[in-house]
Each structure stands twice: as C-alpha cells, then as structure tokens.
Amino acid sequence: MAKASQRMTTTTRRRASLTTFLPLLAGIGLGLLIGWLAPVQRFTTGFDRLHPDYKADYVVMVGNAYLLDGDWPTAEARLIALDVVNLPAYVGGLTERYIAEGRNVNDIRGLVSLSVALGYTSPVMEPYLPARVPGG
C-alpha cells in the first residue's frame, strides 16, 4: 500500500514537472525562433553596418553634399556615423583609390575636400584641391 502510494507520488511529481517545464521550454524555444528569425536589429541598423561598397558610395555622396552646401559639421557627423577606426585614413585611401581608378571628377573633388577637411592630403590629390586665394 505504501509502495503504491510512493509510486503514485513519483508519477505525480514527474507529471507536474512535465506540465511545468514543457510549456516553459516550448515557449522559450518558440521565442528564440521568432526572435532570431524576425529580429528587431533590422530597424536599428546604422551606417556602420553597410556593405563596404555602399560605405564607399555613402562617403562619395557625403563629399558631393559637402561640395554643395559647405556644411562641415554635418559632413563630419555623417562620416563619424560610419564608425570607422581611422576616419582620415579611410577617406584618404578611398580618395586615392578613386583617383587611381579615374572615377567621376565631381566625386573625386568631393572626396578630396573631405580628405583635406580631415587633415589627410597626398600629392595625387593636388590637381583636385580647391583653388587657393592669393596670399592664402
């Protein structure tokens, strides 16, 4: 009689833990599945996550905008959003690559302006440098 009662208690406990943990585990599993398949990250992705090609094009556009409006604080903030470790070297390197590849002159001028503003200049940029004011 006592044995039967003990067996019943064990069975009840097992059943109780099953009914407790099974739904919990199933819920966690489902949550992970949904969370990783439908991530919220998509809605918070910044420019630092862009593909390198798009990053380069982004910098070109920032250069174009800078040529148009001359607004350096805005241009700088847009570049910083890329979260590049060494921004002058990155923009300068991109500028030199564009010059070497003979890309669009307007794009190169914008990039050179950004490079100069960031304090990065090199001899290949010389032809694209904005004109100097006499005595300047």
Binding site: T19, T20, L22, P23, L24, L25, A26, G27, I28, G29, L30, G31, L32, L33, I34, G35, W36, P39, V40, Q41, R42, F43, T45, G46, F47, R49, L50, H51, Y54, D57, Y58, V60, M61, V62, N64, A65, L67, L68, D69, G70, D71, R78, A81, G102, N104, V105, N106, D107, R109, G110, V116, A117, P127, Y128, L129, P130, A131, R132, V133, G136
Partner: protein, 298 residues
Amino acid sequence: MVTRHVRRPRTSRTFPFGALLLGVVGLTVGLGYAWFVNPVEYVDVEPAQLADEEQRTYLILVSLGYASDGDLSRARQRLAAMGLDDDPGAALAEVADEAATLGLADTSVRALTNLALALGGEPELAMPFAGTLAGPPALPPSPVPGTVFAPTVAPSATPTPPPATPTPPAEGTITPSPTPSGNRYVLADQASFCDADVTPGLLIVSVQDANGDGVPGVEIVAKWEGGQDSFFTGLKPEQGPGYADFVMMEGLSYSVEIVEDGDTESRVVSDLQTGLCTPEDSTEAHLQGYRLLFRQTR
C-alpha cells in the same frame, strides 16, 4: 480505511491555464533573449536594411548627389538599393514634403524636391523649394590651416564627362531679345525644347565670356508672378563652369535676369511661358524647358 479514487470524466477537465501561462512566460523570455540579450547582428547590409532615420539621411544624400552630378540613372540605382525601384518619385515626394514640414535645411529640401520631380513625383508642400540649389558656388570651409577655398572651380586632371541632362533644343524660337544698353551680357540664344529625358520645366542658362568660355559664379534671378528665386552658374561643374539651371512650374510666366554688380533691375529676357508639349520619343505630355545663352560683350 478505504481510499476512493474518483476519476473525473475527460470532458470536464479544466483548461490548462497554468501551462499556457508558463508557455507565455517562456515565449517572453525567448524573445527577450533573442532581441535584446543576444540579438542577430547584421553586417554588410544594403541601404534598404538601414533604420528609418538612416534611410532618410541616405535619401537626402542621394538627392544631394543628384544635385551635384545631375546623373539621374545613378540616382535611380542608388534608390533601387534602398528598395525604391517601384515609383521612387512618389516616395521622394513624400519625404520632400515631410522634410519641408520638419523645416530641414533648404539645401536638403530642394535636393529632395528636385529629384522627386525628375523622377515624376509630385511634391506638394515642398514645391516652392523646386529649383537649382541657390547659394554661392562650392565654398567648403577649410578646417585645415593653410588651405583656403576660393569660389572658383578647381582644375581637373581628367577629362570632364559629357553633360548628362541637356540635349540640343528640338524646337522653339530663336529670337534674341534686345538687351538694355550698358549690360555686360547679351542674350545670344534662346530656345525651347521638349525632351522626356530632361527634368520637366527645366530652364538651362549658360553664361559665357567674350571668348565663349563658361563663367562661374554669375547670379541669375528668375521671377514669376508672386515670387522670385536666384541661382548661380558653376554649381554643377560637370556641366561646365557657366552652366546653371532652374525648374519652372507649369502655367507660370517667367522673366530671367543676370545680376551684375548687385543690379537686379537689368532684365534681359521675359515671358518664358511654361506649357505642355509632347516629346518626339514619347506619347506623354511633358513640361517644356528653355535654354538661354548669355554672352559677355567685349
């Protein structure tokens, strides 16, 4: 002692609220972990996957890029990367209106409006911003000591690519207007054109010196009933240093003046009527444009 086990019939078993509650708790824990503790991190994304705010900034940059190089196909490609390959004009018009409402920088609103118009969009609130980006020619400040930017177009080491937008005038009258005496510039040519590939209602102004070379930094004022706007040559270096353009609105009559030594009264050409026309290679009506050429007198 007799123990009686009374089994309830299955049908009367209560709903497992406890299990459901635990399931919901588990789901919450799982979602919380997957979204906030250990979220999926995207790398090498396309512009279409950027956050909303970044997408707006990207759109402004695409518009400014178009304002800078006038390359519509390139702007289209950039917009396609943002997933805006289906009617990008309408999407841009919406953003331009929003930008106008939010009071963003004039340059950004103008750029968005112009690109929206070029892509067939119809901005409403932002429409007054349509036209060439006004302001001095490229004058980026120089945070680096020793480098001073001058309002001239920098020399180019490589050949400038051919202009993307302008096409030869297809039709219209070439009737140079009489120029008031004392002006340094005379109207050398005037023509209307109808081209589906060109921004509707585009007014193209070329300013040349006596040798026929483009002159940058010349201020031009377009006036219409109830308004006026000024724009400058040389803001689109790839089109030539003496190039400037302005987008006219349908149904208005414009006069165009060149400002010389601050004199805004030197009217040069008037009665530029904007009307619809049908381009040769299209069946859809298009807003005609004008091309004006001013040349400096010796």
